[in-house]
Amino acid sequence: MSHASNGAPTVITPPKVAERIFKRQGNPEKEDYREQLFELEAKGELEVIRVPEPYVEVETKFGRKKKIPLEHTWHHKSCGQCGHIPGYPTSIFWLHRQFGFDYFDPKDQTSCTAWNYYASSTSNPPAQASIAVRNFSQAHVDGYFPFIHCGTSYGHYKETRDQIIHFPKLREQVRRIMDRLNMPFAFPEEIVHYSEWLHVMRDRIAERKVLDLSNVTVSVHPACHYHKLIPEDAIYNDDIYNGQRTSVVTGIAQALGAKVADYSNWHDCCGFGFSHILVNRDFSRSFAAIRKIERMKEEANPDLVLAHDTGCLTTLDKSQFATRAHNRKVGIPVMSDVQFAALAMGAHPYKVCQLHWHGVDNKPLLEKMGIDHEKAWAEFEEQAEKIKSGETQFMTWEEADA
């Protein structure tokens, strides 16, 4: 035992977090699926869809570089987003348009069917894999790179990639189906989620923001499908949570100048639970409201919850509506990182971000963000009236921006 000269023990405290220097040590013993895809391509088994230029390379959990394309993307939409939160895909497109990026909004994309598979195990591996490959191949035929909006599709497609790489019989079955469709068997070099694009675009978006968000506190809910399923694909930055948690969502919120408040259930599922929302809905609802939303309220008291997956967003938002009936301490607006980013860059809250579809009252938040929601609503109603009267059939991008 060492003692100072006055006989008292010397107090040594371990280094504080700020002094602990984290260095990524590289890949653990894991296969590199890109190499394996290129090997399969060399054998003539499939075609690898290259990430188009321009792309940005970012670090993943184990330090490998992942290429995120900026444009020439084929937008694989989400059935959940389009159905429950239509302002979500619209915001993604709106941002692409603001930057003048070339993108493709396909009309013949099919659902990934992952919900079906998680909830009931109906369908079968060749059907699941063929759906993924058909969507990817269509993107390839269209001359674009697949860009996945939905966290569920993103997670599921990564699992599918593993199966396609490891099971020759499955590849053979998929090949037969693709041959009958008269389509190539194409698979992307990287599976890219829209929030990764948003992440690499965060500084450019921040440069063009029109709102002061410094008095807005957000709490982040990252999707299990994004960072827990095949975790080696998820993006990490050393300067966000010291490289210890995925940096998507948090990164854009910080870049936009909002305050990110932490809470102790950050890692927990939103309650959606892969299958729970379909087979055990009450559990999902109470988990979302009590474990997630109430905790956030108690510990972080945020103005807003930011998420990046359809299932999470829907579960966190709509569950509050149900639990309010039981006088629980809920009531935090929920939106996606991309809706938040679009609002920050001046997107219309109703015509583009379609916040009226959300379950929790977001007007106080909009006021805090400096958005005149009454005026915006009047503008939206005016547009809706035109459609109702038959004057126009749908709203154009020009009208949305007007």
Binding site: M1, T10, T13, P15, R20, K61, Q244, Y263
Partner: protein, 353 residues
């Protein structure tokens, strides 16, 4: 045939014992240590007391150092390392590099005792918050506090009321590729928990483990003592993540005895980080062309029956360079390596004569 010295690389417990062994057997040794001090991890990381006999580390290591530092047969080179090698045993030509330059030495054989490094708890497991929360520390951070004689909560400087150890951080984890048990951490955690009990008598102490590995006498000397005399709670169930709630760090995982999830607020969490081959061990394996065994440590040729010989004639290993090892293993291996190295020289002398 001149009697060339045995080169011992690494001045930790294994290297110190190997050099002494060579000298005791009547040969010369050159001990090269890259740091400015001898003693290896126990000194560099300021271990407090050594398991299982709770001897003061500095005193114990000084005793080992004392045996060679006044010994004419041992040439000690601190702040130096080996950067090149030519030839083969018993006539290696090695280049030593130190602050002031390079020098070439002729040596007959080599004992590699370049040891281990601690697993970095921020790496792949990454859910323990070591780089996020001041109150999450490692076994070595804790050793330093115990050595200084005061155990406090880093964030407040006050005595903690609840302290948890998480076992197997970076060990026994196939997900990250470290498929081995680091052998010492169960014992060290039990030792530290017992020591903390003396500094903070009313603290609640927990050890979360997969299964507790206190082999041989460590069972009685460390594990039961911690449990019975020092009231340490052992909870079977590995922790999955640590997060913060208010002032507490919350430990989340599954209690596998009770079969249910748990969430326990703590003042402090100590991560029982395991062992990995050190950079020096990896460098020397490349320099001397020594194959690694499947876990990344230097491979020996005879498995359980020859723990010190490598595939390169005249090159031996000792201590944690060959795999996770406690002091007993390290020092015993060093004795074996010294005797094998000397036997090797003797045989080559006889072959020449």
């Amino acid at each position: 045939m001149p009697n060339l010295p045995v080169l011992v690389i690494g001045g930790g417990p294994a290297g110190l014992e190997a050099a002494r062994g060579v000298a005791d057997l009547g040969y010369k040794a050159v001990l090269v240590e890259k740091e400015s001090v001898l003693g290896g991890r126990p000194i560099l990381e300021s271990y407090a007391a050594l398991t299982p006999d709770m001897r003061n580390t500095e005193e114990a290591m000084n005793e080992m150092i004392g045996r060679i530092s006044n010994n004419e047969a041992v040439d000690i080179r601190t702040g130096a390392t080996v950067t090149a090698v030519e030839g083969e045993a018993p006539n290696f030509k090695v280049t030593l590099q130190n602050g002031s330059g390079a020098e070439t030495l002729d040596v007959s054989s080599v004992i590699v005792s370049t040891g281990f490094q601690h697993f970095d708890p921020g790496r792949e497991t990454q859910m323990y918050g070591y780089y996020e929360f001041d109150d999450v520390i490692t076994l070595t951070d804790a050793e330093k506090m115990l050595k200084a004689g005061k155990f406090v909560r880093p964030s407040t400087g006050e005595a903690p009321k609840r302290v948890a150890f998480i076992q197997c951080v970076g060990s026994r984890d196939r997900q990250i590729g470290n498929k081995w048990c680091s052998k010492v951490c169960c014992g060290i955690a039990s030792k530290q928990a017992s020591e903390i009990r003396h500094f903070v008598p009313d603290a609640k102490l927990f050890i979360f483990y997969i299964d507790l590995r206190a082999y041989g006498f460590w069972e009685d000397e460390l594990y039961w003592k911690a449990q019975e005399e020092n009231k340490v709670n052992y909870i079977r169930g590995i922790v999955t993540e640590i997060n913060k709630r208010g002032e507490s760090v919350v430990v989340k995982g599954e209690d596998t005895t009770m079969g249910r999830p748990m969430e326990i607020p703590m003042d402090m969490v100590i991560l029982s980080v395991g062992m990995e081959p050190s950079e020096g061990t990896k460098d020397m394996s490349k320099l001397f062309n020594l194959p690694l065994e499947s876990h990344g440590y230097i491979a020996t040729t005879g498995g359980a029956l020859n723990t010190v010989e490598t595939t390169v004639p005249g090159v031996f290993i000792a201590g944690a360079a060959g795999g996770p090892a406690d002091l007993e293993d390290s020092v015993s291996m060093a004795g074996a390596a010294a005797s094998r190295a000397c036997a090797f020289i003797r045989k080559s002398e006889m072959a020449v004569a």
